[in-house]
């Protein structure tokens, strides 16, 4: 009960606390002051709780709780105490009877004992006296035995008899007394006892009835009291509940009022908000309406535009259709035309084929002819070469003699010149030292020390130069000066570097001149060595032997380049002659044997294309020039006129096939152009066929309607 009451109390407490928290300053309030206050309160409460805990003052709390215990608890306690008291008293009242009988019994027992004791005492006394008397009597029996006189004996016997009678009488008296005591029970003691028994019985029955009565009464009263107490407890509970209810009701009402106020506030806020929203909504609606209208107008306009576009599209469609129809017609016609052209071309091709075959036959004939001519010419040439060699021998012989003569004359003249120079120097010395007062210095001219003809310098072989060149270029450009010194003949514009470059190019380009075996052997070698050996091989193949030849070659290339650039300017320098001669010679020899195109080397294609592009006179003149210049440059052992004649004849002979070839070339070019035209026509046709317009034409008009909407 206590626990329950406590619980109830704590519930109340809780509620109060809750109420306090509701109505007191809240931590979640909007007002900062209030919040601070609330926090302070909370902290204070916590501290208080901690302090209480620390001091172990729960007893205090208990006391408080007992003080504030509810009415019902008090009532319960009260009634409980009352009832326990009632029960105790009742049981005491009931058991009192038992106790009373107990004590009566004890008293009875004590009395009985007393009586018994008295009785026993009496008996003992009697026994004593009777024993005395008996002893007396027995003593007298001895006395009597000693008596001899009968009278005395009789007398004594009489007295004994009297004594015995007295003893017996005493005994009888006692017995009668006891009997009387018993006999009196009829009248006296026993009767009293009987009466007492009857009384006791009555008393006991009374007691029992009393006991029953009391028990019943007890039961009744207890029931009554319990009922009353129950009623009272119920009442107390009822009142407490009423109180609690009223309290709760009040609290509830308070809370409800607060709630209502808040609700009202919220409602007002809400209404305001609603109004605001309504205004906003209206604004929004108007705005939306406007926007809607504008959009609508815009869209309508768009529709109109699109319709227009559609119309346009339709028009274009029709237009396109017409155009396409027209195109189609045109294409048809063109096709027809092209078929016609095709047939014409075919015919033409056939004709040209015929011509080609004729020409081929002619060509073969001419080749034969030329071979024959060549044979005759070669035999002539051999003969001429023999003559030339003989002439050379003679020329050498004369040349050596001439050279000696020349040397002698040179030496003689030189001496004369030197003397003259010495004289001039002396004069100059005198003039400058004596007249001018200047210190005179002997000018150092190379020709002063020179002995013999100037041009007599030993020529190096081409390979040696190459070696040097490569090594030098490898080293440094600073040494170019020394190079310049060493290669006097080298034209100034040609540097060692450029020569090297040219040679490298030559080496790379004219790999066909090198034997494949050599190439395979050269593979593992170093770069420079490889180049050297290659160039060696190339030069040997080209027939370049001396230094001059090499430089001529270089110069030729340079010239050629400049010639190519200017396209008209031709190098007429004598340095190129040698190589060009060789190339022309070679070319001539090769032309006579095989098809020109297949055999022409890459390096020579450039030179070969040249004459083709150029007018024939130029070519001829070039060749003739070359030949002429060569002949001029070459030692004049062979009569130049003879050679010229030969060459002219040669040139004349060459002109014929050249003409044919040029004609053929023209025809080929024509053929090519025709084929090109055909291809163009075909591609055009293809274009027409695959043109977008066709695909567009295939698109159904519904789609073209949609297009403007996009």
């Amino acid at each position: 009960m206590n626990l329950l009451a406590n619980l109830g109390f704590f519930d109340q407490n809780d509620e109060e606390h809750l109420a306090a928290t509701i109505h007191g300053p809240s931590v979640y309030s909007d007002n900062p002051q209030e919040r601070i206050q609330a926090r302070r309160l909370r902290i204070a409460a916590r501290q208080e709780a901690r302090r209480r805990e620390a001091l172990g003052e729960y007893l205090d709390g208990k006391k408080e709780s007992e003080e504030e215990q509810s009415k019902s608890y008090k009532q319960k306690e009260e009634s409980r105490l009352k009832l326990t008291k009632l029960l105790l008293c009742g049981t005491e009242l009931v058991t009192n009877i038992q106790v009373a009988t107990d004590i009566r019994e004890i008293h009875r027992r004590v009395e009985e004992e007393e009586v018994k004791r008295q009785r026993l005492e009496k008996l003992e006394n009697e026994v004593k006296t009777s024993q005395d008397k008996f002893d007396e009597i027995t003593a007298k029996w001895e006395e009597g035995r000693q008596k001899r006189i009968p009278q005395e004996l009789w007398e004594m016997l009489n007295t004994q008899q009297l004594h015995c009678a007295g003893l017996i009488e005493d005994k009888n008296k006692l017995i009668s007394e006891l009997q009387q005591a018993r006999g009196c029970s009829r009248r006296g003691e026993l009767k009293i006892k009987d009466d007492q028994f009857v009384k006791d019985l009555k008393k006991q029955s009374d007691d029992i009835s009393l006991l029953l009565e009391r028990m019943e009464e007890q039961v009744k009263s207890v029931m009554k009291n319990f009922r009353q107490e129950l009623m009272q407890i119920e009442k107390a509970f009822e009142s407490e509940r009423q109180e609690l209810l009223s309290n709760n009701m009040k609290k509830w009402e308070r809370a409800l009022q607060g709630h209502n106020a808040k609700e009202l506030e919220y409602l007002i806020n809400r209404m305001k908000k609603v109004e605001d929203y309504e205004k906003q909504l209206n604004k929004q609606r108007v705005w939306d309406c406007e926007e809607y209208n504008t959009i609508k107008i815009k869209l309508e306009r768009d529709i109109q535009i699109l319709e227009q576009q559609l119309q346009q599209m339709k028009a274009t469609y029709q237009l396109n259709q017409e155009k396409l129809e027209y195109n189609f017609q045109v294409l048809k016609k063109r096709d027809e035309e092209s078929t016609v052209i095709k047939s014409q071309q075919k015919r033409k091709l056939n004709r040209l084929h015929d011509i080609l075959n004729n020409l081929r036959t002619k060509y073969a004939k001419q080749i034969k002819q030329f071979q024959e001519e060549n044979q005759t010419l070669t035999s002539d040439f051999k003969r001429l070469v023999g003559q030339f060699k003989e002439l050379q021998k003679a020329m050498r012989h004369f040349a050596i003699i001439d050279a000696e003569k020349f040397r002698e004359i040179w030496l003689m003249n030189e001496e004369e010149a030197k003397v003259l120079v010495q004289r001039a120097f002396d004069v100059d010395k005198v003039i400058s030292s004596q007249h001018l007062g200047l210190p005179w210095k002997m000018p150092d001219f190379w020709f002063l020390k020179n002995v013999g003809p100037i041009s007599m310098q030993q020529q190096k072989s081409a390979t040696q130069i190459l070696e040097e060149l490569l090594l030098q270029t490898e080293e440094d450009e600073t040494e170019e000066t020394s190079e310049d010194e060493s290669y006097m003949d080298l034209p100034k514009q040609v540097s060692a570097k450029t020569t090297k470059k040219i040679l490298m190019l030559l080496c790379d380009e004219s790999g066909f001149l090198i034997e494949s075996k050599l190439l395979s052997l050269l593979l593992p070698l170093e770069k420079n060595e490889c180049y050297l050996l290659r160039l060696d091989a190339i030069f040997s193949a080209l027939g370049i032997e001396s230094e001059d030849d090499l430089y001529k070659l270089v110069n030729f290339f340079l010239r050629y380049r400049s010639h190519r650039l200017s396209s008209i300017q031709y190098s007429t320098s004598t340095q190129t002659e040698r190589t060009s001669l060789i190339s022309t010679m070679e070319r001539m020899s090769l032309l006579s044997q095989t098809d020109r195109k297949s055999l022409v080397s890459k390096s020579e294609v450039d030179s070969m294309v040249l004459p083709e592009d150029l007018p024939e006179d130029d070519n001829e003149s070039l060749v003739s020039k070359e030949l002429r210049e060569e002949s001029l440059a070459s030692p004049k052992l062979i009569h130049p006129n003879d050679v010229l004649k030969i060459l002219e004849a040669f040139v004349m002979g060459l002109k014929k096939p050249n003409l044919v070839l040029t004609q053929r070339a023209k025809l080929l070019m024509e053929n090519d152009s025709l084929e090109e035209q055909n291809a163009e026509m075909q591609s055009l046709l293809q274009q027409y066929l695959q043109a977008k317009v066709n695909s567009e034409l295939q698109i159904p008009p519904t789609q073209s309607f949609r297009m403007p909407t996009k």
Partner: protein
């Protein structure tokens, strides 16, 4: 009768049903009943089913036989049950039936069926309730463990034993009952044993003392019923409550009607020794003197189950008390009642000696003896060391101040004793004051009876106050065993709220 064939079939079925009924009533045999029981599920439902729809279809049938309705005809199961009930005595069918039918049968069985039929067959409490109500107008079933069946058999046996006259009544009357009631009887409570009737009643002399001496001389002939065989047969016997005496003898009172002979005593001793389930043994108002008490108690030594021994209202003296004291240390006795005997100081001293180191005895009753101060002091001293005695009754024992002084010293020490009765003694005013002193330091005693013991009212009142305080404390303890926990738990929510 231009009825369709369906109608013609109905009367036939009806007659067949009546036939079955007739069979029931007529034969009433086992076979017929079982036959009916067997046939009933196959026949009856079929008829009913065929009848109801045809009824609806053809109302004419009802118009032909206006009296006939289904309500009149009892169900066959009902009939069978009636039959079974009627013939239950001859043919008890119960266990084979369905539960609901069993219930019906049991509710209709007459309560006067022979026990040979019902005893081991029927366990239904309602039936035995009816039996009990019919036989005895007042029934306290709570006194019999709440079981009506047990109550029936116990009271039946009690009645038989009460009216058993040795020599004239056939002992088989009781022994026949034994197999029937052995499982149910737990207590035998007999408050009278009739002596054997002497047919040639000797002419009673005028003097009662003669007859008393004669009775003593003829003692062997006056033995009562020997319980040995009966008790040996009862498996669950726990309580034996006997009074060797005669009730309602009225004016035929004779002293020898109330004799507890030595042979009775010996046989009873053997009986209780053999009964290992016995927990409570009561032998009151039976003139048990020292010797007989010693015989009985010797047989009870080291008894495995005995918890309560009641020998109140006898003639036991100090020797008997000494034997009881020995029993205290040789058994697990919890309650000893020697009220209204002839104990004196030596007996009380021997009991006190046993009590000092006993660990079983809870209650000791020495009411209406005469142990006097010597015995009282001895018992009070024994309470110093005893750790289990809670109830002590020393009412009406001629105790006086010295005992009170010793008790006042003991009371603050003892924390076990809860009930003490010193009523009807001569404690006196000073003794009362001393007891008050002792009580003021005791916190356990809840009842302290000092009525009619010459104690001043003031001290009695003050002792009453102390008792009240003790009771309140005990009540608190009983309500919340974790007394020291509650304040903390109560503080818990407070803290959390704060």
């Amino acid at each position: 009768m231009h009825d369709p064939p369906a109608t013609s079939s109905h009367p036939g079925s009806r007659t067949s049903m009546y036939n079955v009924q007739r069979q029931h009533s007529g034969l009433g045999g086992v076979s017929s009943a079982t036959q009916a029981a067997k046939t009933s599920p196959s026949h009856a439902p079929g008829h009913l089913k065929s009848k109801i729809p045809s009824n609806r279809r053809m109302r004419r049938i009802i118009s032909e036989d206006a009296e006939w309705t289904l309500a009149i005809v009892p169900l066959l199961t009902e009939l069978c049950i009636q039959h079974i009930v009627k013939n239950f005595q001859n043919n008890p069918i119960l266990k084979q039936l369905l539960p609901q039918h069993q219930q019906k049968v049991l509710s209709h069985l007459p309560p006067d069926l022979p026990l040979t039929v019902t005893a081991n067959l029927i366990d239904d409490e309602n039936y035995w309730h009816r039996c009990c109500i019919k036989r005895w107008p007042v029934c306290h079933v709570a006194k019999h463990g709440g079981s009506w069946k047990r109550m029936f058999f116990e009271r039946h046996l009690e009645n038989l034993l009460k009216l058993f006259i040795p020599g004239t009544t056939d002992p088989n009357v009781i022994l026949d009952l034994l197999p029937l009631c052995r499982n149910y009887v737990r207590r035998i409570q007999v408050d009278q044993f009739l002596p054997p009737v002497r047919l040639p009643t000797p002419p009673q002399g005028d003097e009662q003392s003669d007859s008393g001496s004669d009775g003593e001389g003829n003692e062997p002939e006056k033995d009562h019923y020997q319980l040995e065989a009966l008790v040996a047969g009862l498996k669950h016997l726990e309580e034996l409550d006997l009074v060797y005496g005669v009730k309602d003898c009225g004016m035929n009172f004779e002293w020898n009607l109330f004799l507890f002979t030595f042979r009775d005593c010996h046989s009873l001793a053997a009986t209780i020794k053999a009964c290992h389930t016995l927990k409570i043994f009561r032998l009151t108002r039976s003139k048990v003197d020292d010797d007989k008490a010693r015989i009985l108690i010797r047989s009870l030594l080291d008894h495995p189950a005995l918890e309560e021994l009641d020998l109140s209202h006898n003639l036991i003296g100090d020797r008997g008390a000494r034997a009881a004291a020995k029993l205290l240390s040789h058994s697990r006795l919890r309650v000893l009642n020697l009220a209204n005997n002839q104990l004196r100081a030596p007996g009380a001293q021997s009991l006190a000696h046993a009590l000092a180191h006993n660990t079983n005895l809870v209650s000791l009753n020495l009411r209406l003896n005469c142990i006097e101060d010597e015995g009282g002091q001895a018992i009070a001293h024994a309470l110093e060391t005893n750790k289990c005695l809670t109830t002590l009754h020393l009412g009406g024992n001629e105790l006086s101040e010295p005992t009170a002084t010793v008790l006042s010293q003991v009371l603050p020490i003892n924390t076990i004793l809860t009930s003490l009765n010193l009523s009807c003694n001569h404690i006196g005013v000073d003794g009362g004051k001393q007891l008050l002193e002792g009580m003021s330091e005791n916190k356990t005693i809840l009842e302290f009876d000092l009525r009619l013991s010459d104690v001043s009212q003031e001290s009695e009142y003050l002792i009453g106050q102390a008792l009240h305080a003790n009771r309140e404390a005990a009540r608190q303890r009983a309500l919340n065993p974790g007394h020291f926990m509650t304040p903390i738990t109560n503080n818990g929510p407070e803290n959390s709220v704060a």
